[in-house]
Symmetry: C2
Subunit: 225 residues, 2 copies
DNA sequence: CCTTTCACTATTGTATACAATTATACAAGA
DNA sequence: TCTTGTATAATTGTATACAATAGTGAAAGG
């Protein structure tokens, strides 16, 4: 399970986890073609390690749904279709609506402080228009909410889904004014958390997700023509 | 990824996957204590195989959230608290409500036929009061709906969550009349699928899940005293 | 008597060797 | 020419050997 530190996520020690991160990034950045086979030995030679950690990473990728493993044949990259991404938005919309309500019930001072910190950093980098950092902080902002649920299932499920959506659709939103509206939406979410209004929080976060979904949809609709 | 055939789910060939199934069942049946360490060599000796497939299975368990892996120390079983189970019901309620609507949109004749088949078998074994088979068919019934969404994410997420809930709470419901009400609820769900009424389908399946959740909650509430 | 250090053991992490399975190529026959 | 069978090569699955790290306990010093 990759753990995200403030800006870069570094998996704990083992080689297998490092390889997982590398391969996942490659897949999400579409460096491999859809359906391409990932040869264990070739990867091992390329990365100058043995097959064992490669196999670990591939197993992990398989369970995350990024590759498909056919017994005695090999693993093949799957990639994401626009519909996959849209489905993930639907999942996020439903689960985050629940998660934020749970979070409000169960969170302690530390969680709240962390969300506030992250939000302030977002404001800072939004002013600077630093797209990279904003994107990382956006992931962190939502993950902090997931953590506050203190439910391993909400946290685990949402973390992965949100991470995939973020990475795959991070180039979909081109309007510069989105930075501004996004920070306003995150502020509204934070406000509703602080006041403890669970219904409002749910509505606010779902609205935020829908907004993003709409923009990503528009991107893919335009791309087709 | 374990694939369920009609009654028993058998993972494809590799030893690692077989071991995964064995260890998962042991954890879900509480044959290991919470926090107990799983020693690789001990398991390898017990099961008369090498450490390699054991490690594969453990990695898989880790990603499913059933064990926790501490680098260079080992993996420890996590188990489920009543709150974990309740959280999973919440997740199911939200996601299955969406999934059944997607399923209605995207399903083809084969999916529909399969659901009908499974339902008829459920009726058959309900008449016979064969608790074991009913439980398996219940899992299959819901999984078939997940499949019909033709969305790997809905399918993957819901399959695991539902399986865990089913296994961990399968002894929670003791009233014999639950068999009857359950089959009625499943019939209502099927009917709404057939007529293609998405809103009704959502309401019906969520009502079904809530009903089960309430019974499981009652079980744990009684257990405490 | 308690604490610290250091050596030893046990266990996990990685590499490599071997077995089993699958893909490929080429030849023989229809 | 197309199919089919077989041998060979390539690749995955499993076992084992080795390396690195963490745990344990006894001896030395305070």
């Amino acid at each position: 399970m990759p753990s995200h530190s403030l800006f870069e996520h570094v998996s704990h020690g083992s080689l297998g986890n490092k390889i997982f991160d590398i391969l996942r990034d490659r897949i999400l950045n579409e460096e491999y073609e859809h359906g391409q086979k990932l040869n264990e030995l070739a990867l091992a030679n390329e990365l100058k390690i043995s097959r064992t950690p490669i196999r670990e990473a591939l197993k992990q990728l398989e369970l995350e749904g990024l590759v498909e493993s056919i017994p005695n044949k090999g693993v093949y990259v799957k990639g994401f279709s626009p519909r996959d991404i849209d489905d993930m938005f639907e999942i996020r919309c439903a689960l985050e609506g629940l998660a934020i309500q749970l979070a409000i019930d169960r969170m302690d001072e530390e969680h709240l402080a962390k969300i506030k910190d992250v939000f302030e950093l977002m404001e800072f980098y939004t002013a600077k228009k630093d797209q990279e950092k904003i994107n990382d902080l956006n992931i962190l902002y939502h993950e902090t909410i997931y953590q506050a649920t203190q439910s391993q299932y909400f946290e685990q499920l949402l973390k992965d889904v949100h991470y995939y959506v973020s990475v795959t659709s991070r180039h979909s939103i081109t309007q510069p004014e989105r930075l501004e509206t996004a920070i306003q939406e995150h502020r509204a979410i934070l406000d509703s958390i602080v006041t403890g209004d669970k219904e409002l929080a749910k509505k606010t976060i779902q609205k935020h997700i829908r907004k993003t979904q709409t923009l990503v949809r528009a991107y893919y609709a335009n791309k087709k023509k």
